[in-house]
């Protein structure tokens, strides 16, 4: 069963002559354990596609299924989209987006408490996750004191906090040097393999293209081609 299934997804902005078709007839699947890259020039629709899969933007047409649940088909099938994101999706950002007023452990623990787990248990789980991602020794550090690579590992730990089946990453290596970028990609591949999660990554970063199972090339809101860099 594919964890991400998009069939005929379309999304436009504006009306009349000013209307811009950002996505047209997108068919995309991501299987468990698969790491898929999304690339394309500026305005090709990468961010719009990521926002649609993240249930932030509502599509205009098509069908979207996430982790076996039909999420959109003519309309949202769930009222509480935040709960949906909490349960099924983990996010990794370009600028890691850690809350600056929480230390590394609490940044991860916060995501766990949002799904109803008590704080002390959430902290234990967060500490274990940070250890697993080899950043446990920085557990009590504030984000401002973490290096770019450490901050991104903490952000990955937060994304994994609720064991989501789908992980969406927006330029996760853009702020890292080549070596750290490859480490982060290895980490994502490991997570995909261990947790059988589907990972969809928007990227411009050519130095990591070979780390994807599949690369989807977008142009003018359409899937232009798919390549298999690792093959």
């Amino acid at each position: 069963m594919n964890l991400v299934e998009l069939a005929g997804i379309a999304k436009g902005f504006g009306r009349g002559e000013a209307r811009v078709q950002a996505l047209s007839d997108i068919h995309l699947t991501v299987a468990p354990g698969e790491v898929v890259g999304l690339r394309g020039p500026s305005g090709s629709g990468k961010s719009t596609l990521l926002n649609v899969v993240a249930c932030i933007l509502e599509p205009d047409a098509g069908v979207m299924r996430l982790a076996g649940e039909t999420v959109w088909e003519g309309a949202w099938k769930r009222r509480d989209l935040r709960a949906l994101r909490r349960e099924k999706i983990g996010f990794i950002f370009q600028a890691h987006n850690l809350l600056p007023f929480l230390n590394a452990t609490d940044n991860v623990a916060l995501a766990i408490t949002l799904s109803g787990v008590g704080l002390s248990e959430a902290r234990q789980r967060a500490a274990a996750l940070l250890d697993h991602l080899q950043v446990g020794r920085r557990a009590s550090a504030m984000p401002a004191l973490l290096s770019g690579g450490e901050a991104q590992r903490v952000a990955i730990a937060r994304a994994l906090a609720n064991q989501p089946r789908i992980i969406l990453a927006d330029e996760p290596t853009a702020a890292l040097d080549s070596e750290r970028a490859r480490v982060v990609m290895e980490l994502l591949r490991r997570v995909a393999r261990e947790q059988q999660a589907a990972i969809l990554v928007v990227t411009h970063d050519e130095k990591i293209f070979d780390r994807f199972d599949r690369m989807v090339n977008l142009r003018d809101g359409r899937i232009e081609s798919e390549t298999h860099p690792g093959a």
Partner: protein, 396 residues
């Protein structure tokens, strides 16, 4: 996990500095409330100090504070004879600018003389003088220092005049020695009260009259008789009916009578009404300004956390967590600011020239108003927070 507190702790210096600024503003607003209440307290201070059940004044007036009142000195005997009246005393009131000569010894040693060669003494002192008959109603309330008046040219003065026992005070060329001190006995204008004997007060009234009136009085042709007083105050037996006695007094056409409650009403609703309104309006404006400033601060604090709030929404934080973050910060801002403003004011309130009345009930009431202001002001921040799109967390 309390995000509001964690965020405040993260930027504690900035938060405390903001609270200090807002605290000063709230301190000023609180001071205005205290001064407002102080004006009312001071207005009632004189009537309460004299402890009168009934005020007998000139017919057709609401004297002696709201209007001038002058009645014959023998009115007291007539009032005292009325059934139900246990005691009555004649009183006079005049606001004067006295001169202070320091201690009695210093005064005797000699003071400076003005250009005309007339002896003058010390710094000016504005006082409201109450003339009363010894051992009759109208005298000073409980003394905090010294003794009561035993003879002419003695004076009991309020501590607000900042004169020690034994100080010599010159009024209209007459010198009085301060023999006793009261506390917090002031006129409706905030001037300290001073008590002297009725005879001294009447002499002063004559001396302070305009020269033309003095000449007329001296010639006996016209003008006010010297044996006149401003009011007679009466104390009633517990069973006496004030309304009945008032009615009885009003039958004498040249007299009018006001109960203690009526006199207090005159003082608060008439004498200090404008000051009350002015202070009340200014307090309202200050609280409104505080509200606008709190709203702006909360809005800025919220917009500062735009990306954090977007991230919270994206990772699935419910709206109530975000609303609670904004509101708790607004309320903490108000609470810390109010506490610092109140603490500062309590430290300096005695330096104010007029009384600042800040009881626990005033502090609680203003704290309640600040709470409501912060709650309302936070709505602007809450609105801004709820409009932040989770998509704002994505991208560079």
């Amino acid at each position: 996990m309390n995000l509001a507190l964690r965020d405040i702790r993260h930027k504690l210096g900035r938060f405390l500095l903001t609270c200090a600024g807002l605290g000063l503003l709230l301190g000023v607003a609180l001071a205005m409330v205290g001064i407002y209440r102080g004006v009312v307290e001071e207005a009632l201070s004189l009537t309460r100090a004299l402890d009168a059940n009934l005020w007998v004044v000139e017919g057709g007036t609401r004297g002696p504070f709201a209007e001038a009142s002058r009645i014959p000195g023998d009115t007291r005997e007539a009032v005292a004879r009325i059934a139900g009246v246990t005691a009555a005393g004649s009183v006079t009131f005049q606001t004067v600018e006295a001169r202070v000569a320091g201690s009695a010894a210093a005064s005797t040693a000699g003071a400076f003389r003005n250009e005309a060669g007339r002896e003058r003494v010390g710094a000016p002192l504005r006082v409201q003088i109450v003339g009363y008959e010894l051992d009759r109603p109208g005298g000073p309330p409980a003394l905090v220092e010294g003794r009561g008046i035993a003879a002419r040219r003695e004076m009991v003065l309020d501590r607000g005049a900042r004169q020690p026992l034994g100080a010599m005070v010159e009024i209209g060329g007459l010198r009085f020695r301060v023999v006793g001190l009261t506390a917090r006995a002031v006129s409706s204008g905030g001037d300290p009260l001073g008590w002297i004997t009725l005879a001294d007060a009447q002499e002063l009234q004559f001396r302070l009259n305009a020269p033309a009136a003095r000449r007329a009085t001296a010639s006996g042709s016209q003008g006010q008789p010297q044996d006149s007083v401003n009011a007679v105050i009466a104390r009633l037996a517990p069973h006496a009916d004030p309304a009945q006695i008032t009615e009885q007094l009003r039958r004498w056409k040249h007299l009018a009578a006001l109960s203690e409650a009526e006199q207090e009403e005159v003082l608060t609703r008439s004498v200090v009404e404008r000051a009350r309104k002015q202070l009340g309006l200014f307090t309202g404006i200050l609280l409104l300004v505080s509200g606008v400033i709190v709203a702006l601060i909360v809005y800025m604090l919220t917009m500062d956390k735009l990306r954090e709030i977007a991230t919270l929404k994206l990772i699935g934080a419910p709206d109530r967590a975000i609303v609670s973050l904004v509101m708790q910060q607004a309320l903490l801002l108000g609470a810390v600011s109010f506490a610092s403003g109140a603490a500062l004011l309590l430290l300096v309130k005695d330096v104010f020239p007029r009384r600042v009345v800040l009881g626990p009930e005033v502090l609680l009431a203003v704290a309640g108003v600040v709470f409501v202001i912060c709650l309302l002001a936070s709505l602007l921040g809450v609105r801004a927070a709820l409009r932040i799109e989770p998509a704002q967390a994505l991208g560079g």
